[in-house]
């Protein structure tokens, strides 16, 4: 009874917090939306948010930068994370699996600033040897991939481990091969959980700031190749907010509100995919 009360109030508090943050962002974004206007965020020639009439507030490069860096990171990290979890669960000795688990745990616990520092001092010079300046979309995607692989691995590993042993034994008794079992019994069961893990990872990549600021190059222009610098929405806020006043500051809050909307729609999308796939499995 008491537990129910505590649980209920905790749930309400969490929901309230989200609404509070959204409201705060919108409140501070209000002056920019009113004076600059929604259209100019997409129609202006560049991002030069200096005060006065020369101010240019094109948010499109940051949107594209966030989307590209996140999508590339997911493209790299999702297959690696899922196959690594698959391998740990079904194809290696238990001791090795435990070793991998703890390694991933450490990776997940590394502060983003440490990964960023590694990216800046190791990854960026290495990419710069192929093409200057090295701080680029590629560097950002790789650093983000390193950061989200643990999330995907842990979610997938949990899903794979949850499959009852009797189920696998039954399939083996039917004379199915390992690959056959995976394809027919395992993957359909875990698909929704894998999707949830991937979405969680993508939202984390989208929101990551510190490491990205250090390696992405942060030039507010749409990149034409993997080797061009990008500025993400989060980097835009982190770089400029401490020094921004007036409309500039408000414009950054508008960017933050956009980021929140993006994350929100991703979460909804993830839930839809998950629901569709588990429904399909139950039928």
């Amino acid at each position: 009874m008491l537990l129910a009360v505590i649980g209920r109030s905790a749930a309400v508090t969490v929901a309230g917090l989200v609404i509070l943050i959204a409201g705060f962002l919108l409140l501070h974004a209000q002056p920019a939306l009113r004076e600059i206007g929604f259209v100019r965020f997409f129609a202006d020639a560049s991002w030069n948010p200096s005060p006065g009439p020369e101010g240019r507030f094109d948010i499109v490069p940051a949107l594209v930068g966030s989307a590209l860096a996140t999508a590339l990171a997911a493209l790299i990290a999702v297959p690696i994370g899922i196959t690594a979890a698959l391998g740990s669960t079904f194809f290696v000795h238990r001791a090795v699996a435990r070793l991998v688990d703890s390694g991933v745990g450490v990776l997940a616990g590394l502060p983003s600033v440490v990964i960023g520092l590694w990216g800046l001092t190791a990854l960026v010079p290495w990419i710069a040897r192929i093409r200057a300046p090295g701080a680029s979309l590629l560097a950002a995607a790789l650093v983000l991939a390193v950061m989200v692989v643990p999330t995907i691995y842990v979610a997938s590993r949990g899903a794979f481990k949850s499959i009852p042993k009797t189920c696998l034994d039954g399939a083996t008794a039917l004379g199915m091969t390992r690959i056959g079992i995976l394809r027919a019994a395992v993957l359909p069961t875990v698909k929704p959980a894998l999707a949830v893990g991937a979405v969680l990872a993508i939202t984390r990549a989208l929101g990551e700031t510190m490491a990205v600021v250090m390696v992405a190059g942060n030039v507010a222009a749409i990149p034409r190749s993997l080797f061009d610098p990008v500025r993400t929405l989060t980097a835009n806020i982190a770089l400029e907010l401490p020094y921004a006043t007036g409309l500039h500051r408000s414009a950054l809050f508008a960017g933050g509100a956009g980021l929140m909307a993006l994350t929100w729609s991703l979460v909804v999308l993830g839930r839809c995919i998950s629901r569709a796939w588990s429904g399909e499995h139950n039928d």
Partner: protein
């Protein structure tokens, strides 16, 4: 990097806390026995008895200096507390004007529109062009720097260096080093074609050290400190003059800026006492230790 910059300088705050407790205790005494306040309140080095809090906001370049000086001031004046917070020169101006802060830190000369504030020149700082240490370029002329930053020259061979691409490292909007740099070279923000945009001096130094063929600009003090620390960057002479604190002091080096404190018309006694302390000869040692050039020199 940036998240750090908005924090209150911790030492100044912590040591100031005791002072506030004392202040509160004194205030409580004052209600019953007026005379005890005068007895208990200590007098500072200058013989002026002051208590209270001074909030200082603005340039991240000046903040470490004032944080350190704040600690010294608090030690000499029990019952005072100096809160130093960073947020850029513009914020220093805005908050000093609105009265939200007692003192604004502004790491440039004041503009025509800012003459309503009282300014106190604390020190000078030079902005140095820095290169990746492996780069064989000995000196750059003013026009060459402009050509590099506007993208007209994009390989080092164009200024007598190796045949390697130039990575132009630039600061994000609002940084005072950026304003000083653009101002000195007569550039508009939109003229610059950066390869990489960074936030503060440290990020710029790390990026220049990591990227072969990189050029950037930071506070001379910060650059000299990094070089002494073995970081892979090199300070570049400008128009044949070496970028050193010594040359800033001698006013030979051109790319310099003023480090100012600003206040509005109403200045509390404790704020006045603190400003006097910052401008006094007691402060020059601290300013020099942090690689800036005191005005008295």
């Amino acid at each position: 990097m940036e998240s750090r910059s908005s924090a209150i300088v911790p030492g100044a705050r912590l040591r100031g806390f005791g002072g506030v407790m004392l202040f509160a205790a004194l205030a409580a005494c004052a209600r019953t026995e007026e005379s005890s306040v005068a007895v208990v309140t200590s007098t500072g080095a200058a013989g002026v008895s002051v208590t209270g809090t001074v909030s200082v906001v603005g340039s991240s370049t000046i903040a470490p200096v004032l944080g350190e000086l704040g600690r010294l001031f608090e030690a000499g004046h029990p019952g005072t507390r100096i809160n130093v917070e960073t947020g850029g020169s513009t914020r220093g101006i805005v908050e000093a004007r609105s009265g939200r802060a007692d003192i604004g830190m502004v790491s440039r000369a004041l503009t025509v529109n800012e003459q309503d504030l009282a300014a106190y020149l604390v020190a000078r700082d030079g902005v140095a062009l820095i290169l990746h240490s492996g780069l064989e370029v000995q000196s750059l002329k003013r026009e060459q720097v402009i050509d590099i930053y506007t993208g007209r020259i994009d390989r080092w061979v164009g200024v007598g260096g190796p045949d390697a691409p130039i990575s132009v490292i630039h600061k994000a909007e609002g940084r005072s080093t950026l304003e000083v740099f653009l101002d000195h070279f007569g550039l508009k923000p939109t003229d610059v074609r950066p390869s990489v945009v960074v936030g503060d001096n440290q990020q710029c130094i790390k990026s220049v050290a990591s990227i072969p063929g990189a050029i950037g600009y930071v506070s001379i003090g910060a650059a000299e400190f990094a070089v002494a620390d073995g970081v892979g960057i090199r300070l570049l002479p400008l128009d044949g003059i070496c970028a050193t604190t010594a040359n800033v002091r001698a006013k030979r080096y051109a790319l310099t800026r003023e480090l100012n404190l600003v206040t509005d018309a109403t200045v509390s006694p404790v704020t006045r006492a603190f400003i006097d302390f910052v401008l006094s000869s007691d402060a020059t040692e601290t300013i020099r230790d942090l690689y800036f050039v005191p005005i008295g020199d």
